[in-house]
Amino acid sequence: MSELLAEVDGSANGLPPAPIEGRGPGQIAWQRLRRDRVAIACVVFIALLVVAAVFAAPLCHLIGQSPYTPDRGPHGLSPEGIPIEPSTHHWLGTDDQGRDILARLLYGAQISLLVGVVATVLEIGLGLVVGTVAGYYGGRTDTFLARFMDVVLSFPFLITALALVARFGPSIVITIGVIAFFSWSQPGRIVRGQVLALRERDFVEAARASGAGDLRIMVREIMPNLIAPVIVYGTLLIPVNIVGEATLSFLGLGVVVPKASWGQMLADASNQGLYTVAWWYLVFPGLALLFTTLAFNLLGDSLRDALDPRRGGALRGR
């Protein structure tokens, strides 16, 4: 409580009361977020991961490792053909073919982030358009689009992915396409619900009265109100899509070898029980996946808290 009072009148640092300033919703959210240590840690981790992924090639060059060429020397595989544990030669050990695990993790981050972000952008985009149109027009358009979203949700995701890969062969385009196609209807439904409420509001009526067309109302009047839920939902979709890619790759339906993906590394580690002799082969890709999805999930939760106008002011501690 004293913290609260101090915040309001600035008496904590003995200054005269600061004049009350108007703050936009974006500023308030930013202030709340800046105070959230968990959120900051997540942002830092994600930023480092992005840097690692973007600069995977120079970083690998720097540590003198390649993600594709096996180390044929004594540090790659033991005479029995077993991966070598972490050492000064290979910081995170080697895999079943004597390749450097750190280098493959760096390249795997590229795939994870690429699929996670691109699929999320596609899902949010499609969900935003279909959801807004359905909610804004209502009536038959809404019934048809809502049914369509129901049908999409009825498809069994993994099995259908299996069918598509069986037909067209695995590729990153199929991976992103399958993930995006099966997950856009969830944000679509959320957007539709919001738009149903928004279109009855006075500012929409005012825009219409001043002669704005449907498209203008949807894009300029309604969509800006959807930014907060879309940001939160998008942040929470990224880890779901990263797990989706890892799962497809784990089943051999994702990226094509020799490209590295965390899911496919874990599949290799589990083949023939290799993880029983090479713990690092299981632990490092597993931790990479866990920390990444955890960071996005925690950040999404923090963003939801920060962007929620019903939360008690900017003063809520964590």
């Binding site: 049908v151 498809f155 993994l158 099995i159 299996l162 880890p239 799962t247 051999g252 999930n297």
Partner: protein, 318 residues
Amino acid sequence: MLRFLVRRVLLGALVLLIVSIAVFLIFFAGGDPARRFCGAICPPDRLADVKHRLYLDHSLLAQYWHYLSGLLHGNLGYSFTNQESVNSIIAAGLPATASLALGAAVLWLLMGVPIGVAAATRPRSIRDRLATVFALAGLSIPTFVVGLVLLELLFYQLSVHGLHWFPPSGYVPLSHDPVQWLVHLILPWLTLALVNAATYARLTRATLLEVLGEDYIRTARAKGLSERRVVYRHGLRSALTPIVTLLGVDIGTLLGGTIVTEKLFGLQGVGQSALQAQSDGNLPVVLGTVLVATFFIVVANIVVDVLYAVLDPRVQLT
């Protein structure tokens, strides 16, 4: 009630029809199914024979009609590899998949709901925080990572110490040996349950928190009912509706193939046979599984809607 059921069943049939068209198109998109069926070395007269037997010498529309009438008679087609009926291949996998899905569902309800209740009855307490951490971890870790960790800890580490409690793989039919059935399923059940319990804990917490704030709960407390009775008999009953919805959809989805868990633990279920068929390029089996999986999801959705009315007298089915 009857009108509602008829409408829902018709809608479900429409979804299945759309999926069957999609499946049919995947089957024919590019490439020649006859050539795949025939194999690598295929003399022209044999190819013609295969075309005739697969009904491929008719127009596309006639072929779809033929396929659809087969489906309506419950015939999903024949395997490319050994001409076994797809029906019997899927039926062979169902006991393992159903044992896995249903047993895991019981387990995750037993874990998730009490955790959610514990968190909701003491919001912002230590145990609420712990429950949140559990839920976030469950949402962030992919199924196969949980499975691999369980294999490492409960199978490998125990067997190193001479304790062979949990077999790592295989499925023993219930009718064959109930004890071995149970023992073989413990690790797969735990894997699926740990991943899903997180979602259920989160959902239980959120709905119960909302319900506990309602007037009738205050009335129940004012009547002098014990807190236990208030929470479990009055609160949880209304909170059950969303849980049942999710449970129905989850079980429906899982019955169509628990691919990842089946692969990890070598259970010969629906998902495993579809995965095997995928790597053999055996399209009819994969596509048949897509249809069967969709069928389960559609049926689960109808069952859930009917259960709504049973659980919540306020819901009128029209």
